[in-house]
Amino acid sequence: MTITATAAPLLKYLVRLADDNVVLGQRLSEYIASAPELEEDLAVANIGLDHIGVAQHLYSYAAEVEGEGRTEDDFAFWRTEREFTNVLLVEQPHEGFGELIARQFLFDAYQLELWEALSLSSDERLAGIAAKALKEARYHLRHTASWVVRLGDGTDESHRRMQDAVGAMWRFTGELFEADDLDRQMAAEGVGVDPTTLREAWTATVDEVLAEATLHRPDDPYQASGGRSGMHSEHLGHLLAEMQWMQRTYPGLQW
């Protein structure tokens, strides 16, 4: 399915928010039964469940806005990688627990600010979804920040690994705060938020946690971009191939 260029801005906006969550939820779901402790298997599954749950709400609302009888699953399983508009950070694979935590922490700190802003949206439905997601994001951030600190300030080995992990994810954080025409329009209408306004609070959170973790903020000047316009890394196609396999192999069935 394709979302046309002239589709309602709100539809496109909801879909990009949903795409971030479904892709990250899918990444976390890959990790089941691989955690360093059972407690972390539980926690990672829980965070993944929250993200996919948010994506369901957003896609369902998007489908209503579109009004063509599509479902949340049509959005998740019947678009190609060029049609997904998630940020690059969430599609990055994780080499292990350190990278998983780094990716999640950097994104949690962003989503906390995002949902807080969107919980004040003039669109009541979106505000409701954001308010629920905000509560979840607080838990996620508390959990991942505590791991960044423990791993950063744990052993020499964990410090090195965590520094590398933050470094590996860092170049995908700039994109979180880029605004395009759609963002600006949604912000102007009071529905959405201009992501550039979220950067300051995010930086403060990240700096504080990294400092406590005895980690330094990476200074890689290169920042990747393109997810919002469907220009992804090579990883997304593989993630979607796996996620969409059943629907594509057996089209049009009920499960």
Partner: protein, 309 residues
Amino acid sequence: MTGEDRFLETIEADDKVEPRDWMPDGYRKTLIRQIAQHAHSEVIGMQPEGNWITRAPTLMRKIILMAKVQDEAGHGLYLYSAAETLGVSRDELQHLLHTGKQKYSSIFNYPTLSWADIGAIGWLVDGAAIVNQIALQQTSYGPYARAMVKICKEESFHARQGYSILLALSRGSEAQRAMMQDAVDRWWWPSLMMFGPPDAESTHTEQSMEWKIKRVTNDELRQRFVDQTVPQGQHLGVTFPDPDLAYDEGTGHWMIGDIDWDEFWAVVKGDGRLNRERIAAKVRAWEGGAWVREAATAYAEKVNLRRTA
């Protein structure tokens, strides 16, 4: 009154034995072995189902399956805690699992080859587990019995989600019905084997019954499972892979054909399709996470030092 007298009186009165009570060494050892095996089964069982989370056909099925596998991690935690009340640590038990000195349910050595397998695991494997666990709610060791009460509630949700997957397939296309039948063909016999060897050959049954650790024998539990499951299968429209399966008017029970106990023992002894892979994956996760656990310990020590400094 000696500790032993009190123990026997507790068992006789159908009361619960508690962690600080005197208990025979054999009772303690049997419980540690059984509870640990149960905990290991929950944890290893996350693998065959985890195999399909990333490919679940809808977002709703995906989150239900994730929640289920998450429950299993939780059950593992509970059960390890119950075992710890008997004076053994979770790390020790995991080590015994990793080195093959303790077992987990053999059912998880079979591969999940299609989405329908996730339905069959919920319906048959969790269904069988529930029959066993309902009986264990009456077990004589208090912490184990109480863990079972909570676990049973969640397991019944698991069995329902499995049946719901199969129900959707049964109402679907020819390909979906074939997928379901194939899964039932592969999971039916192994699920019957979950109750363990026939009573006559079960080495642990007699003493365990005497101590009221076990309240119902393997064969009786197996029969309960068959009786409740066959009508459910008929409702789905599946054929059970047992030409001898027949309803006995006289007893009111469904009678099954001969179970292939050679297969059962081969899998128990380590030669199932995935015994090696399941343990290897578990060990890989554990060893791969060593640096994380070490860091958590080191950090906790630093925080303690700072606090006392």
